[in-house]
């Protein structure tokens, strides 16, 4: 808000200053239309801003002046000397008030009625009333608390300075090279070092002048959402975070439209009407959160809503209807790929076109706008729970961290943001093969298309495929491919300039730059490389490429799994059907008990797998509650990665254990948890409460209650009193007492003497083995 007020003050002062001459001229010539217009514009602007900032006094003044001037403009009134001086008095008063605001003080109470009255037709020209005394005092204070001095500069000028500094950096690099080549004396080197340091400092400073807080972008959002939701009859709460993240001025302008569009979409399509929300068990008020954060040299802007989410299937169906993809292809899409469809031109999920969005022009434009500045848009959504859009944009346009590589003797640069990993083609984890003339690299079991840079460029290279280095690239909005280069050199921060149209026409390059040795280097556009190299980015992405095709998995039953990360960081998957729900417990609920880790969940205690020792008491632990329909166990994990489906083969593990096998999930190998093994190992004690065998124990027998009961419970029974009405699977009674129920067969008689006398079916009560056998025999019969 302070920023906005500062802007307002600066704007007012600027206008007042330029008005200075106009006012005098107008006074001399009240019928001068052009002067009248510029004064009218001033009071109009002031009025508009005052409403926003809640300066009622200023607003009333400017409003009155605007009314009077509007009459003059409309020809309803003649500008006479009285009106001119009244307006001038108002403008003077506005100027004084602006000074007070600039000093950060509240506007003093005061009465402007006299001034306003002076504007009325036929008023006396005696309005040079003394300004409120309070204002005069405040003005005196202004000088003392001078705010940081600022001037307004045109962005164009800043750009010129910026490009001048970039050139200076390059010139310095060249000078450095020349100095290295020729032997110079120490004094020259020293002077050069100093110059070098100053230039670096200057570059930092000038880069900062181009930075702007992203708040400028966010500040309009609450208002926009408010208007929009009112129009749509929805209730939306906006939560804006991270406004202090700084971003290149130009970048902010470039993402303004995409961001606005995404927010509008979220309010229009994402968040439901209050009634629908209540029906879905949500709060009436939808929550929209917009947050920005810096991550490395990228800015991430998240736009999350808790609305109805994106229906991937419907998107796919629409895409088929629109003829964008084949029906068969649509069936193979993973959820993420379905979401990606929304960026296709001419596709909208809105059932009907609204005035706000849903014309099917939009998301494709959003994506292309963001990609133009080297950014990415990511979508994530859960049907019924909401969706999240993430904009990733680079910090600045001009300086790009890049990797230099070479083919033969020529160097090229690849933007680092697109590089996933670098592997040697002859490494153990990599195999290269040719499939129908196309190169395929298998890197740790993941198949990616492989192209040789030398082939794309048509350059001679003496190296064979195996001698090269593979750079795994993920172009903006595309899937990965591997680029084989002869040699990888260095990471460099490059000042990138656009290349000439004749060079850009190749589609391969994103720009040119100068290396430290002064020779020009071409910077690749990874998406262009893929295109020219014949890698089908889009279809590759959809069809999951060769992995799916090879396993002909379209007909195979797909197994839905939950992909998660274990506490020690392994990527694992568990079949969705066996997960009952996910629980959050505190570390103190996990303890050693009877030979294994157990976790307390409310009333129940479950065996806990997935960790070897109790976590610290204050740490939150997340766990799956696995159920086989009867027993339950907990499986601790770090985080859920995704829901996925296994469509390929599952490679079984050599030895039985927690991991039953390995499968490719979302193109990466994941270990599949063997739930059967987990239950086989941990089961038995953690019975779920339903379907548990019931054992009746005489409630009035202390020995039975204190000594026997734990053993019986340990064997998996739920213990009730003899007088309970529940049908029991087992009854335990002391020999010689009356039978509490009529179920002879399921009764165990216990006697207190070691030797049996008469009653043949009784068991000595400290005959643990016999007792356990009887218990388990009865338990077996109970099932």
């Amino acid at each position: 808000m302070d920023d906005l007020i500062a802007d307002f003050v600066a704007e007012c002062r600027e206008m007042l200053e330029s008005l200075g001459g106009e006012i005098v001229a107008w006074e001399a010539q009240p019928d001068d239309r052009a002067r009248l217009d510029s004064i009218f514009r001033f009071v109009h602007t002031v009025k508009g801003n005052c409403g926003f900032f809640e300066f009622p006094r200023l607003e009333a003044l400017s409003h009155a002046a605007e009314d009077a001037l509007a009459d003059v403009r409309a020809g309803r009134r003649q500008a006479d000397g009285a009106l001119v001086s009244a307006v001038l008095a108002v403008i003077d008063r506005i100027g004084e008030m602006v000074d007070v605001i600039a000093a950060g003080q509240p506007l003093p109470e005061g009465d402007d009625a006299e001034l306003i009255g002076g504007l009325a037709p036929g008023a006396e020209a005696s309005v040079a009333a003394p300004v409120a005394v309070a204002i005069g005092e405040a003005k005196a204070a202004t000088a003392a608390t001078a705010s940081p001095r600022t001037i307004r500069l045109s962005v164009e000028l800043l750009d010129r300075v910026m490009s001048g500094v970039s050139d200076m950096v390059l010139a310095r690099n060249e000078l450095a090279r020349r100095l290295r080549d020729s032997s110079t004396d120490v004094a020259v080197d020293g002077a050069f070092e100093r110059l070098s340091g100053i230039i670096a400092e200057m570059r930092d400073a000038i880069t900062r002048t181009r930075m702007q807080r992203i708040e400028n972008l966010f500040v309009g959002l609450p208002r926009m959402v408010r208007d929009l939701s009112a129009e749509l009859g929805k209730q939306v709460l906006v939560d804006v975070e991270g406004g202090d993240v700084e971003l290149d001025r130009e970048m902010i302008e470039m993402i303004r439209d995409p961001l606005t569009h995404i927010v509008r979409n979220a309010v229009d399509h994402g968040i439901e009407r209050p009634a629908e929300r209540l029906k879905a068990g949500k709060r009436e008020i939808g929550l929209l959160s917009v947050s920005a954060r810096q991550s490395g040299n990228q800015i991430l802007i998240d736009i999350c809503d808790d609305g109805r989410g994106i229906d991937g299937k419907r998107l796919a169906a629409k895409a088929v209807a629109a003829g964008l993809i084949e029906a068969a292809e649509a069936g193979r899409l993973s959820p993420r790929e379905q979401f990606e469809l929304m960026f296709e031109a001419g596709l909208s999920t809105a059932a009907q076109v609204t005035s706000i969005s849903g014309r099917g022009v939009g998301m494709d434009v959003v994506r292309s706008n963001v990609e133009r500045i080297g950014g990415i848009v990511e979508v994530d959504s859960r049907l019924g729970q909401g969706s999240r859009m993430t904009l990733r944009v680079p910090l600045t346009l001009t300086i790009i961290p890049a990797l230099t590589v070479s083919i033969g003797s020529q160097h090229f640069a690849i933007p680092r943001s697109a590089i996933e990993e670098i592997v040697r083609a002859n490494g153990d984890s990599v195999t290269l093969s040719q499939v129908g003339g196309a190169g395929v690299a298998t890197i740790r079991g993941r198949r990616v298309p492989e192209v040789a840079l030398a082939d794309i460029l048509g350059l001679p290279s003496s190296l064979s495929d195996e001698q090269r280095t593979l750079i795994v690239l993920r172009p903006a909005g595309g899937d990965v491919f591997a680029l084989a280069v002869d040699k990888v050199h260095d990471h460099e921060e490059l000042v990138v300039k656009p290349a000439a149209p004749a060079v850009m026409a190749t589609g391969l390059y994103a720009g040119t730059t100068l290396a430290d040795d002064g020779s020009p280097i071409l910077l690749f556009d990874p998406a262009g490389l893929a295109r020219v190299g014949g890698v089908k980015l889009e279809s590759q992405e959809r069809a999951r490429g060769l992995v799916d095709v090879a396993s002909a998995s379209a007909e195979r039953a797909r197994v839905p799994v939950l992909l998660f990360r274990t506490l020690d960081g392994a990527r694992r998957a568990v079949r969705l059907a066996s997960v009952d729900r996910i629980e959050d417990v505190s570390g103190s609920a996990v303890q050693w008990g009877a030979g294994q880790l157990r976790v307390q969940l409310g009333e129940a205690i479950l065996p806990l797998a997935g960790c070897d020792e109790p976590p610290p008491a204050d740490v939150k632990l997340r766990m799956f509650r696995l159920s086989d329909g009867e027993a339950e166990i907990g499986l601790a994990f770090l985080e859920v990665i995704d829901m996925a489906e296994i469509s390929g083969d599952i490679i079984p593990a050599e030895l039985p254990g927690e991991v039953g096998g390995v499968a490719l999930i979302n193109g990466e190998p994941a270990e599949l948890v063997d739930v059967h093994w987990l239950f086989a190992r941990h089961r038995g004690t953690g019975r779920s409460s339903g379907g548990q065998a019931v054992c009746k124990l005489p409630g009035d027998d202390p020995w039975m209650q204190n000594m026997l009961r734990p053993i019986v419970e340990n064997a998996g029974y739920r213990v009730v009193g003899t007088d309970s009405d529940e049908p029991a699977d087992l009854v335990v009674a002391a020999a010689g007492t009356a039978l509490p129920a009529n179920d002879e067969a399921r009764t165990i008689w216990l006697r207190s003497e070691p030797e049996a006398n008469g009653s043949e079916r009784s068991i000595y009560r400290y005959d643990r083995a016999g007792l356990m056998m009887a218990l388990s025999a009865a338990a077996g019969g109970a099932k």
Binding site: D167, E174, A502, P520
Partner: protein
């Protein structure tokens, strides 16, 4: 009209470039080729920390190719739409004053020359063909398209 013209030799012919378009005349030594670019783009070169896109005039005119494999080449540096280009020529001779406005030439020229011609200008050195720098930079492909 007394505009200045830069007299250069391209493919053995003397032609004129508008001197106002030419920033400087340089000698290029190393050229970094641009793979997959149009054939008349001979490569990139650096001049005072600026990247120059080097245009082979012979190729642009479809009159063969300049041998750029070694040696030093003379080139005229021009700016077009914010990009700097170096036009490779056989040699740069002189700066002369134009004695007339360019007049259309009605004689049939070679196809390449035809495309870049701005007309004939009279100079003290006799009539010279005035070359359109932008058309030269656009190259054969652009004209074909």
């Amino acid at each position: 009209m007394n505009a200045l013209l830069l007299l250069v030799t391209v493919a053995g012919q003397r032609v004129a470039l508008p001197a106002s378009a030419v920033e400087s005349v340089v000698e290029l030594d190393t050229l970094i080729p641009v793979p997959r670019a149009a054939s008349h783009v001979a490569g990139l070169s650096a001049l005072r920390s600026r990247v120059l896109t080097v245009i082979d005039c012979m190729r642009a005119l479809e009159l063969g190719a300049t041998d750029v494999s070694d040696g030093i080449h003379e080139a005229a540096v021009v700016e077009l739409d914010g990009h700097h280009y170096a036009l490779l020529v056989d040699s740069v001779e002189d700066v002369v004053e134009a004695r007339s406005d360019p007049a259309p030439l009605r004689a049939a020229m070679g196809r390449g020359w035809e495309a870049v011609s701005l007309g004939l200008v009279e100079t003290d050195d006799g009539p010279l063909l005035l070359v359109d720098v932008a058309a030269l930079i656009g190259g054969v492909e652009a004209r074909a398209a």
